[in-house]
Every structure is written in C-alpha cells, then in structure tokens.
Amino acid sequence: MSGGTNERAIIFGAEKSLIGIVTQPLPVPSGERPAVVILNTGIIYRIGHNRMYVALARTLAEAGHMVLRFDMSGIGDSDNRNDGLGPLDANLADIRDAIDWLAATLRVRRVVLVGLCSGADHAILFAGSDCRVAGVVLIDPNLPTHGPGYFGRRMLRWRTWTNFFSGKGLFWSFLRRKFVRTIEITREDEGVQWQNPISNSQLLHAFQESAKVGIQMLAIFTGGSRDAHKVLMNLVQRKGNERLFRLKYFDRNDHTFTFEVDRNRLSDEMMQWLRQTGF
C-alpha cells in the first residue's frame, strides 16, 4: 500500500494458474470508470521493462483507475494452461480470464487494455471480441502491411505485370527470400529465426473490428518511423472513425523505454488520453 492506493496479489483463471497484481485507488471507485489491464511484453514478467508497469499502475490508480497487471500463461509466475490452446489463443483466453476476474470480483464493466509490442498485438487482437473492452493503448503494435483491396489494386497496375515478366517485383523477391532463407537455416551456426505468428489478415481484421465496435485507441510509436498514420487511416476508412484514434510518435524513444523521461512522457500521454476520452 502506498499513498492513496492499495496493491494485492491475485490468483485467477479456471485453473487458478494466472498471477497478477491489482492496484486500486483508495477509496475504491465505482465500476463506472474503466479498469486498466496491462499485458506482458514478450516474456518480460508483469513489472515490465525497467519496472515501468509498476510505476504506471500506481500513477493510474492514483488517478482513480483500478489496474491489473498480470502474467499470461507460461510467462513470469503464471503456469501454462492445460486446455490445449495454442500460444496465441492461450494469450487471448488469459486476457478474457483477467477481465472476467475484474468483472466478478471488482464489478468492473469496462476495461482499457494496454500493451507494448507483442502486448499491443494481443490487445488489438482481443479488443473487438469482447464488448467490455472500451479502449486500447497500443505501444509499437505490429500494423498490417497491407490493407483491404491491396492485391486487387496491384493486379490492375501495368507495372505489376511488367515487373512480373521481367523477374522483378514482390512476387520474385518473395521467392528469392524464401529460397535464400531455406539455404540459410540449414547452416549450423544459424540463430533463431523469429517470425511474427500473427498474420496480416488477423491484424487487419482486428483493427477493423476494433474501429467497427467503437473502441477508443491510443497508438504510440517509438523510433523515427512516421508511416503509422497512413496505415491506420487506411484501416479505419469510414468517415468519423478518425475520432476513435489518437496517434503519437515518440521519436527519440527506444522501444523499451529505457529512460525515466520517456516513461514519464508515456504515463502523461496515457493520463491525458484517458481524461479526454472520458475514461
């Protein structure tokens, strides 16, 4: 317990295998204000890189939000699930278990999901499937590399066909990449090859579904890239959906928020967004 907040460890899920920490404001607020659920980044356990989620949870709780940060199955202190789900489905089931616990125990009706990197992917993939999700904070999410109608539009371009018959373009470069990688992975010194297990179409559907059901989104991108705006706008397409999105670029930030000033900026940005969206 510190200041106007209280923290306690919880065990939840059908098998009581998931472990989390609830940070509550004191006095405990009514269920009207959305609770915040913070998801793991990769396999970093629930305190987050540089312990950033502990500080964030306490700041949010001081502002009146209940916060749950927890370890998904197989990460941190949580055990693996025994229901035979694959890794991604298990992650999404874990999020549902977390929201179920908040609803059943603390009478929470709405939640905001917060995730960095893989956590952001899990947040957006889950968001549209559960009406209790009112908002998502996506920090460096993967974005679909191409939107709806992309291939159809390409097929109508003259250049697509000139490239195809001259051995250039995406089709041939895809084959070359595939061929080269097939050779490389046979080398003994080859390291682990990482591939995002989430497909483009899954991401595309998730972003569109999220916009369709009116989920508020704060998307933050670290590093110098400024491509996200165009991609997100292509995704939402429908007029009026722009109001659901707030997009911020943290140009000088590294991906894991190594410096205190960057973590404070993230916290401030989230607080401002929560206030402005009426959360």
């Binding site: 305190i47 890189h49 540089n50 682990v192 590093g223 894991t256 190594t258």
Partner: protein
C-alpha cells in the same frame, strides 16, 4: 530462500529463479522468493532504497518463511548482488542460516559498479541501434546518481555498492557454502583463493559454464541455465 539481483538483472533473471524455485519445491523444499522494498512488485521505488534496508528485508523474509513453514533449517540462495547480500545476512545471523549458495556473486562492489556503468553507456537508440553515450545524470533533489540500465541508481546506493567486499566476509562464511560461477571472473578467482586458503571454511566452488541469465537474453529469449539450476538443487537436497 532466494535473494534477487539488482535492477535490470532481476528482471532478466526472473524466469531462471522461478525455475530454480520450482525445481527445489519439486524436490520437497519450501521456497520463498520475494522482492526487496522498491523492487519488483514490492512497495516503493528504487530511489527510496538502500542496501542496509535490503538486508533487513532478507531478515524479514526469513522470519516470514519460518513462520509460514515452521521450518528450523534454512538455506539462502543469492544471485549476483543478492548473493552478496545473502552472505552478509548469513554471517550476521550465524547460526541462523544452515547453508548458503552464492550464484555468480558480486565480489567487489567497486568493480560491479564499473560494470554497471559500462553497460549503461551502451544504450539503444530510437531506431534500435546500440550507441555509446555518457551516463544519464539524475537530479540531486531526487537522490542524484545515474540512470543505470533503466533503473535509478542513487548516489547513496552507489556509495553502498562501492563498499561491498565479499572477500572480507570469507573468514565468517558458513562452512556449508556453494559458490557457483557461470564464467571465469577475476574477482571470483580472488574469492576462490581466499576461500581456499582459509582454514575456517570449506566451501565448494564450482564453475559451471551456463547461460548468464541476468544479462538481457535477446535473442536467446527464454533460455535458462539448466546446469546451474540442477546443480544447486542437487547440492541442497
């Protein structure tokens, strides 16, 4: 009871220490892992802590473990800074602790600080590259010191770290002590020589080549120092 390392090392090692605790509990031992004040899930933040406080946290955790389990015999396991603090507590409580496992302990605080500072000078940039840059100073009204690998290391904590000297503790170390080293370390060699020359103690010093779990594991995400975990478990049981 398991004593964590400091800061980023703690986060990186969390998975391995959990695996160690499960291995030990599977072998029939009660195990307690806990977070020092200002670390992990515990209250406070790193600017409010000091090493003396963390030693007291270890003593409180020992009392809690005894109270929960009713066990009269206790072993302390520490990784990196946790090992050094565990050794200090074990010496101060003797005969309160029955055995001690020092896993890649911080032997010389000054060298450890240099190591932390050197690691912090190589930082990730916005585009994911690693570059050299000066240490980031923290405001004096917030405890001063530097930002080290994502954590505040206050001037006060740095002073305490600098004074750590595991070699000086060796005459009083427990007879039943296991020192596990993942890799050859100059300061651990010094420790080994002192321990070896001492009549008072008969420690077991072993070098077991293994993954250094307290270092940022990328790209070996999820790897664990299985050989060390198995050895500690075997030695304690």
């Amino acid at each position: 009871m398991i004593c964590n390392p400091w800061g980023a090392e703690h986060i990186n090692a969390h998975r391995a220490l959990r695996q160690l605790s499960r291995k030990l509990s599977g072998a029939g031992l009660h195990v307690l892992r806990f977070d020092y004040f200002g670390a992990g899930d515990s209250a406070g933040d790193m600017t409010q802590t000091d090493l003396r406080g963390w030693e007291n946290d270890i003593k409180s955790a020992l009392a809690e473990l005894g109270s929960i389990t009713g066990s009269r015999r206790v072993s302390l396991i520490g990784l990196r800074l946790g090992a050094t603090l565990a050794a200090k507590v074990a010496v101060s409580l003797d005969p309160g602790v029955n055995s001690l496992v020092l896993w890649d302990p911080v032997v010389d605080g000054r060298a450890y600080l240099d190591e932390l500072y050197a690691a912090s000078r190589v930082v990730p940039t916005a585009d994911g590259q690693l570059v050299s840059r000066p240490l980031v100073l923290r405001p004096s009204d917030l405890g001063g010191g530097y930002e080290i690998l994502g954590f505040p290391l206050t001037a006060g904590m740095a002073r305490e770290l600098k004074e750590l000297n595991l070699v000086a503790l060796t005459p009083d170390l427990l007879r039943r002590t296991l020192v596990v080293l993942s890799e050859p370390q100059v300061y651990c060699c010094t420790l080994g020589m002192v321990l070896g020359a001492s009549d008072a103690v008969a420690p077991t010093i072993e070098q077991i080549k293994a993954f250094r779990c307290w270092i940022d594991p990328w790209p070996n995400v999820g790897a664990s120092p299985v050989a060390i975990i198995n050895r500690i478990s075997q030695w304690l049981t």
